[in-house]
Amino acid sequence: MPDPIIPAFLLILGSGAVVLMWRMGVFTPRSVTAWTRIGRHHHLTDDRPLDERLGDRVPSLAGFFRETSVPRLLAIANRRESLNTWAVKVAVYVLIVGAALLGVDLFASISSGTLPVPPLVCLLVAGFFAPLSYLSLRADARRRQDAVNRGIGQALSEMAILTYSGSYTVSGALEFVARCQRDRSLLNLMTDDNWRRLAETDDAPLALSLRPNQLLSTVTIYQRIGRAYDLLMFDELATNMRRIAEKGLVPSDVLTSLSEATGKKAAAEMIVKTEQSRPRMALAIGLMVLPLLSLILYPAAVAIGNAFK
C-alpha cells in the first residue's frame, strides 16, 4: 500500500498555494482590480475585516464572531496585551509543554532503549494548550463581567444613601462605591478611560446622530459600556438614569427600587441553581461506585490472576 503522507502533504501545500493566490488577487479580473483601486482611493469600497463583512450578511455569524473575538475577550478580561502578544504567549506555553514532554520522552528512551511515545504525540498533546489558553481567557472575561455586575448590583443601596441628600449624582455615587470595593474590576473599567477599549465606537442607531468628536452624556457612556462589555447592570443603570432625567424621579428612590429588584432576582437565581444542582449532585455521589468497585475488585482480580499462574 502506498504511503499516504506525501500525497496528503502535497494536497495541503497545493490548497494553501491556491488560497494564497486567491487572496493576492491572481484570479481577479483586471477590470475588477482597477475598479477596486479607484474605489479605495475614493472611499467607495468596504475595507472592514472579513469577519465584520460576513457578520453583516449573516447575523448569527456576527454574534459568533463577537463572542469568540480574542481582542474583545482581552479587553473584557482587562488584559493589557494585544492579540499578537497573546498569541506569542500561547506559543510559549505550547513550546514549554512540548519541550518538557519531549525531554521526558528522551530520557525514557535513553533508559529503556526504545521511544515510549512517538514525538509527534508529545507535540500534539502540547498543542492542546492553545485551546486551553483560549478557554482560560474566556473564563477570565466571564469572571470580570460577573465581578462588575456584582459590584454594581450589591452596591445599589449604598448608592441610594449617597444620593439621598443630593450631594452625589448617580454617576458620582457609582465612582465612590467603585473606589471602596476590594475587587478593582469596576474601578478599573471606569477610570483611565479603560472603557474606551471597546465602547469607544458604537454601531447602534444611536451613534448615527452623534458627531465623532461630540461629548457623550454619562447615560450614553453607561449604555455603550453595557452593550460593548455585555454588562447587564450598566444597561439597567443607564435606563434608570434616563428615567430619572426624563421623568424627574428621585435618584435614591429609583436606586432603592432597583436594588430591591436585583436582590429578588439574586434570590430567585439561587433557588433555581439549588434545584438544578440536586440531580448533578446525585450523579457525583453515583461516581462513588468507581473507587468502591476498584477497592473491592482489585484483590479479586489479583487472586484470579494468581490462580491462573
Binding site: 502578544t85 506569542v88 504567549k89 506559543a91 510559549v92 513550546l95 514549554i96 519541550a99 519531549l102 525531554g103 528522551l106 528512551s109 535513553i110 521511544l115 514525538p119 456584582r150 459590584g151 450589591q154 452596591a155 443601596s157 449604598e158 441610594a160 444613601i161 449617597l162 439621598y164 441628600s165 450631594s167 473606589r179 471602596c180 470595593q181 476590594r182 475587587d183 432603592t256 436594588s259 430591591e260 436582590g263 429578588k264 439574586a266 434570590a267 437565581e269 439561587m270 433557588i271 441553581k273 439549588t274 438544578q276 444542582s277 449532585m281 457525583a284 455521589i285 461516581l287 462513588m288 468507581l290 473507587p291 468502591l292 476498584s294 477497592l295 473491592i296 482489585y298 484483590p299 489479583v302
Partner: protein
Amino acid sequence: MTPLLFFIQVLILLALGLVIMVSASGFSPRGTRARLLEMLEPLLERERYVASGLGWSLQVWLSIRLGAFGLGLAVGTLIGTPVVILGLGVVGLFGVPWWLTARAAQRKLEMDRALIPFMINLVNLLSQGQQTLNHALKDLAQNPDPRLAHALQPLRAAESVSDALVDVARRGMSPMLERVCVDLMLSIDQTPEAFIEQANKILIPQYDQDLEVQARNHAALAGGRQNGLIVIMVMALAFVVVMRVDSLRVAYASFIGQIMLIIDGVMVMGILWVLGMMTPKTPWVRWDLAAVREQMRKRYA
C-alpha cells in the same frame, strides 16, 4: 544520523525558540512573584475567615491545621504502610478543617442574623430623639448581642466611630457586617431623622434580603457537605471491611496494591471536589472599609 541525535537537535531548536519567544513576550520573574502572591491571597483570606468564624486568631488556626496533619502522620506511622501514613496525613490536613469550616460558617450566619435586630435597636434609640448616631452606636456596643460581642468590641471605647467601624469589619470578617459598617459610615454625618428614614426604607429591607440569600447559600453548602460526608463514610467503611479480611488485604500489601489505594484516594478526593464545584454559591462584594473612610474624609477636605 541516529534517531537520538535527531531528537536532541529537535529539543535544542525548541529550547532556542522558547528563549526567543520568552524574551519577546516580556516575561519577568518579578511579575511572576507578584502573581503568585496575588494567587495566595484568597487562600490566606479564606483561612482568616474560618479562624474568625471559630473565634480564633489565624496563628491558632494554622497551628491546629498543622497539628492535625502531624497527628495524622503519627497515627499513620503507628499503623504502618506508606499509603496509610499519607492518607491519614491528608485527612489531618484537609478533613479536620473541612469539618470545622461548617461550624465557622454556622457561627457567621448566626452573627449575620443578629445584625437586623441590632439595626432595629439602633433605629429605636435614635427615634427617641436624644442621641446622635455616634452615641447610639457606642451605647449599643456596651451591651451587645453575644453573637456580635466579639465584632463590636472596638466600638465600646472608641474615640472615632469611623475608625472603630473599620476595626469592627476587620474583626467580623463577614460580608454582611462589612456592608452594615459601610452603610453606617456613609450615614454618620446625616441627621438622625434622615438615618431613621433611610434605615426603614432602604437598609433594613436590604439586610432582610441579604440574609435570605445568605441562608440559602448556607443551606446549599450544608447540603453539599452532607453529601461529601456520605461519600467519605461509605468509602471509609469499605476500606475497613477490606482491610479486615486477610485474603483481600494481602493484595494491597504489594507495590501495585499501594498505588491502587492511592488512585482510590485520589478518586474520592476528586468526587469531593466535584461536589464542591456543583454546590451553588452567591459571591458577595467585599468592601474596603479603610477606603470608605478615606473617601469620606476627602469629601470634606
